[in-house]
Amino acid sequence: MQVKEYKPLIVAFCCNWCSYAGADLAGNNRLNYPADVKIIRVPCSCRVNPMFILRAFQRGADGVILCGCHPGDCHYTSGNYYTRRRMALLFSMLDYLGIERERTRVEWVSAAEGAKFAATMNDFAEKVAALGENKRLEDLRCKK
């Protein structure tokens, strides 16, 4: 059997107006971050349903990060405030169930913060990689 090098799989939900643009800026400035990070564009961080996060873990993601505009800067004025509450509660619940805290994160990244986006992704990928494979929220049927 061939031993494969462990690479974490990370899903990043980015709001269209700030964080997705921040990711584009990271690209424009050629700032590297691991290819393990795959971005899904959503109109606003408040579009992210906890079900999507669980779905990602089920399908084999090792970490899920949600990026939105800084509080106060939401394109829709209040979306990220709701995100903040939802995710604080969801992450607390996942921790309560014994799921590793480092597997989930919310980060506010503005359209001007390309460097922050890349740094955040590097840091998050590193932390998730250190945890190893997601065993506690896995669905074996979805494994390769």
């Binding site: 899903v11 997705y20 643009a21 899904i40 408040c46 779905r55 084999g60 209040s78």
Partner: protein, 664 residues
Amino acid sequence: MQRIGVFVCWCGSNIAGTVDVEAVSEALKREPGVVFSTNYQYMCSQAGQDIIKDAIKEHRLTGIVVCSCSPRMHEATFRKTAAAAGLNPYMVEIANIREQCSWVHKEMPIGTEKAIILGKAAVAKVNLNTPLTPGESPVTKRALVIGGGIAGIQTALDIADAGFEVDIVEKKPTIGGKMAQLDKTFPTLDCAACILTPKMVDVAQHEKIRIFSYSEVSEVKGFVGNFDVTIKKNARYVKEDLCTGCGLCTEKCPMKKCANEFNLGMDTRRAIYIPFAQAVPKVATIDPDNCNMLKNGKCGVCAKVCTAGAIDYTQKDEYIEEKYGAIVVATGFNPISMDKFDEFAYNQSKDVITSLEFERLTNAAGPTAGKLLRPSDGKHPETIVFVQCVGSRCDACAEKGKEYCSKICCMYTAKHAMLTRDKYPDTDVYVFYIDVRTPGKNFDEFYRRAVEEYGVHYIKGMVGKVSPEGDKLIVQASDLLADKQLKIEADLVVLAAAIEPDKSARSLATMLTASMDTNDFFTEAHPKLRPVESPTAGVFLSGACQGPKDIPETVSQAGAAAAKVIGLLAKDKLVGNPCVAHSNEMMCNGCSSCERVCPYGAITYEAKEFRMPDRTTLVRRIAVVNPAVCQGCGCCTVVCPSGAMDLKGFANEQIMAEVDAICK
């Protein structure tokens, strides 16, 4: 099943340098639904777009995935391309393999692998895309301006000059607002009335403008382009169309002791009155709280003297319903109450006044005909103390005053001090300040002139206490630079009271579903980029209702709001963003969660009849999204426990399909 075409762009070497584009297009060819896959040097070029158009026709494509640069760059381009070939533009998805792949990963195998995964996610999404058509709604070509101060006047004039009808609703008997009460304006010292009253006349004479004075907005329904507004016209007991404004009634009325609100209660008027000589409309109004005829049916003098027959004691409040395409809020500000600031003895001494009262005292049309006299004894004050920041810049835990800087006080105080020294050089004028804030064209120069040319004593420090002693006011204050405590015997103390939004703004905001901050100032749609729009589409902001502002700033914002309104009214139809929320009525619980989080008030409820399997009918409360108002943030979709609410273009299924494709 969709018939999807995949188009992989090289972007010269931008993508092709790190991503094996051939491998990507080959790999995606095997994805479900994909019937055609190719790659090309520059997809966004005319030749590249032609490849897409040809493929749509040749392969009867129903969906397209372009693997290229960021959708923020060329999504619109490729949507147009698709539309040109007869495909619904919302059947296009972009896989961002440049900014988020080739530019951030250096090695070809890694870049290629990720590009394939991003492509797969886009294909998975397109498989679930449905054609979307933006909704259209007509625009009523008339604007409503709420508030008839300088902000409302300027906005109304600008809109009307562009050829659109405008109605102004003003709750006072006349338009003019706070500016009509001012004497001079900083930093040019031109007389407020001289620049305002011609504008008021312009408004009155403009064929496109109607003024509803002594009126309030009582109900607002509808949405951008289509507001239904009910205006309550309060009974003024005078027929506006007959009254000539001759003023005879206001001289003959026997009720002489009514406090004159235009002069802030510093003198009196009759029970029937015209607020000031240049009022627009120049029509008398009866104050029902003071009129003997209205209170107990005895008197009737005004009716007897009115040769025009304009007096009508039986007049009732009238409700007018009108349609508008846009609404401008220009409700302005008021000085805060001084009740919580006992230390300044405002309620103890008549000679402690607010700055607005000082304006009236120095105004030629004011209670003293422009002579600066003490309210208590009518004597000329020899020492005047101005206190800045009264109730501004207070911490929330101090439980009085406002947290913000009221912005205009530094300048008007400099103006008051300068004018006083100019007219009465024998007067000693002290200004106690914490900071002097003068950012504005010619503002600091103005303040320096007050100090350098007019000899106003500016003292850094705050007044701690004002105590009336005999006919003097003892002002105890600190002089921080001299590190001394001062006691000044003053004749008049003028408080630069903080300003706050008009009290009516809160209920108006509720009617308009426009959001407010904790201070009851209206919130902008975006603090930098959309400063004159409310987050509620079709509602615009003008003047101090949005934040403290001086006159030049108010006028420029009023013009900006008017430009936005004109831009809206110039359209015959509003084309919406089709990526809006919609509710599945079969699953909706009618629980109101979505309505509560919607920042735009786009969700309403209706009672809907359902035919049940047993042939009975059931009436249930269900949510209805107004697609013209919804901006598509999707917040409602997450609070909906049953999942009845979904977002077109970013549906639950679509996002989950992307997740699945990425995690496969």
